[in-house]
């Protein structure tokens, strides 16, 4: 009788030990994950934000009667289908300039941390220009900048994948 009680107690003890060990292992694994210091991201949000801001201020090759247009003004000119001097198409200049600018700023190659990007310009919520390059990975940083001119709302979105 005594032996049976002893065995039962031993079995309970073993069961408890197993539970403690399993819980400990799970907690230790989670602890390991949590204690890993967060790695510095290859791309930061503020960089994307400042890129859009600076890009909108870039002076393009599109000239009107008064001045050379900034990218911001060029977006408006393109939407209004205005032509630059020497009969240059404003949309074509906008597309070419932005394409080269984003390419130079967010260099995509095998050695680079940046894997791809996606730039979108929306006018009144409608997509007007999309520039995509590289792969869209699950890690990305993005920002947008909106502005209104002559009663129309423009939004520039940029996602950089790494």
């Amino acid at each position: 009788m005594n032996k049976i009680i002893g065995k039962k107690a031993q079995e309970e003890m073993v069961g408890f030990v197993v539970i403690v060990v399993v819980v400990s292992v799970i907690l230790l694994v989670l602890l390991g994950f949590l204690l890993r210091s967060p790695e510095k991201s290859a791309v930061e949000n503020y960089e994307v934000e400042s890129f859009i801001l600076s890009a909108l201020q870039y002076t393009s090759d599109c000239e009107n009667q008064l001045e050379f247009l900034s990218i911001e003004d060029l977006i408006v000119a393109c939407e209004r289908k205005e032509m630059c001097l020497e009969e240059k198409d404003s949309c074509e200049i906008l597309n070419d300039t932005l394409k080269d600018m984003v390419k130079d700023a967010w260099n995509i190659n095998k050695q680079s941390a940046v894997k791809g990007y996606n730039l979108e310009i929306k006018v009144e919520g409608e997509e007007k220009l999309i520039l995509k390059e590289g792969n869209e990975t699950s890690n990305y940083k993005g920002a947008f900048q909106d502005f209104a001119k002559r009663g129309t709302e423009y939004i520039v979105y940029l996602n950089v994948y790494y």
């Binding site: 400990s24 907690l27 602890l31 949590l34 949000n45 890129f51 600076s54 870039y58 002076t59």
Partner: protein
């Protein structure tokens, strides 16, 4: 006598069981405590990283918006993160290695678009792409950078106009010995 020894053994066994239980429960509580502590620590680290990021952005923005760098109202209204190319080229020749500039060890400006890998001097300006304003011969912290507009006045045959290009302002602070 035999019964006495058996009872003694059973008692020892029970004490052993109790001790083991107590140790195991204590171990479990310690682990759970550590788990919650690590969550707090993780959140703290995350906040620190966010603050660091914000600080980096503020530092570079502060530099870009300082009177020595900023465009002010020279380029049609106030522009954010706008650096005056003329000002920084002048500053480059005014700054010595021993000068204290916002506690920085390295301040550099690189033209991104259109890209030009030539150090700017008085002779090749503005057809250049790199302006090293300050470079101290010390150990530096990892560089922080941000995009800025690099603006200057340009003249063609008929008019003078504002020309803004895309650049990166790169700064590194001196590594503090602890």
């Amino acid at each position: 006598m035999v019964r006495g020894i058996r009872r003694n053994r059973s008692g020892q066994m029970k004490i052993q069981q109790m001790t083991f239980m107590l140790v195991a429960v204590a171990f479990l509580f310690i682990l759970v405590g550590m788990f919650f502590l690590s969550i707090r620590l993780y959140n703290l680290k995350k906040t620190a990283t966010n603050l660091e990021e914000k600080n980096a952005m503020l530092l570079v923005s502060k530099l870009a918006d300082s009177p020595e760098f900023s465009c002010g109202n020279s380029f049609g209204g106030s522009k954010t993160s706008c650096v005056d190319f003329d000002k920084i080229l002048a500053l480059k020749y005014q700054v010595d290695e021993d000068d204290e500039l916002w506690g920085m060890a390295k301040i550099e400006l690189r033209k991104i678009y259109p890209e030009k890998d030539i150090e700017c001097t008085e002779t090749n300006y503005p057809n250049c792409g790199i302006v090293t304003i300050l470079e101290k011969d010390v150990n530096t912290q990892p560089a922080m950078s941000n995009f800025v507009s690099l603006c200057r006045k340009e003249a063609d045959e008929s008019k003078i106009y504002d020309k803004c290009e895309l650049a990166r302002l790169i700064v590194s602070a001196e590594e503090k010995n602890t």
